[in-house]
Amino acid sequence: MTSPDPRAPRDQESWARPVDRLTTTAQTTGQDTVTGRRVSGPVQGFGQMWQKTFAVRVPGDDHSPETVIAHWKESFSTFWPKGSTFYAPLAGIAPGEVALFEVPPVPGSPVKMSTGVMVIYADRESFTFMTPEGHALAAWITFSAYRDGDEVVAQAQALERTSDPFIELTYLFGANRANDRFWEQTLANLARSLGVSDPIVETTKVCVDKRRQWRYAGNMRHSPAVNMAVATVTAPARWVRRRRPTG
């Protein structure tokens, strides 16, 4: 048994190790569109950079920041709105683990988008996800809890850009608000599970950078929607090529 290095930084065990390409132990019934991809944060995204904070208050007599975060990690998938599925990695929400999920591109859609996240940071009071290439957002999202007087505030804070021009366009036409509603419902569900009968979720949005990063417009090549469209359009040509006699 080895003892911890006293010179090691306090945060050493909370951070994931860098990886070149993602792998996962999560089992999905859908498509794994994450394995082999790189992570992609707000620095690598295309659209305007937003900082979004969704916060909800729970009674501090019954809960501490640590118990709220432990509960959130343990039952993460159960707080998501209906129609979305989160496949946790075998080791749970821990640094370096990769989770997969399926979400409808627009609320109520029968079609599901498969994607995932890497857990880049986790401690007793917070954990952070980073998105992979091909995800609609190039983002970090941090889930944390802190005490404020008699209450504990649970919050999800995203620092995000849309990944490519196509997604940015959908954001301008309603997807941004749909994404907000997703997290507002998630926070409300978390609060209900902690005994709050009528939770109020406070949402704060700040545009950190109004500029679009055109040098990352090429992120569209990672987009499952674009790849699916290209595959559909080129399907007849591939069908003809397969039927053509060789030799």
């Binding site: 930084p9 944060g41 707000p42 940071y121 970090w140 944390s144």
Partner: protein, 115 residues
């Protein structure tokens, strides 16, 4: 409550921000005050040699600082990173936007170069 102090010094058109203690989301006031003190510097060097703790909120704060320097047309460079913190910048791909140097003279030379 955060335990962050930042010393600001100037070498020509480059400002050096020496960060002591920790960087968390709560470090925004001292770090942004130091950045404001750097004023019209053409380059900002962040010296992490005395950093002993950083969480994911701290990384978010570095991105906010990066956006401000880009908007102002300034270069952002880093020195004094331990192997652990270099790995965090690699993990988060912040090292693609913040130029990392082994020591202050190398950072100052890079800051002075036109590219």
């Amino acid at each position: 409550m955060t335990d962050t102090t930042v010393d600001v010094s100037r070498e020509g058109s480059t400002a050096i921000l020496r960060i002591h203690g920790e960087i968390t989301g709560g470090s925004e006031p001292p770090i942004m005050a130091a950045y404001a003190e750097a004023g019209d510097a053409r380059s900002i060097v962040l010296d992490f040699g005395q950093l002993d703790y950083m969480n994911s909120g701290g990384i978010g704060l570095l991105v906010t600082l990066l956006v401000r320097t880009q908007r102002a047309g300034q270069k952002l460079l880093a020195v004094g990173l331990s192997e652990h913190y270099r790995q965090i910048l690699a993990l988060t791909r912040l090292d693609e936007a913040i130029a990392i140097h082994d020591d202050e003279p190398a950072a100052l030379a890079a800051a002075a170069s036109p590219a």
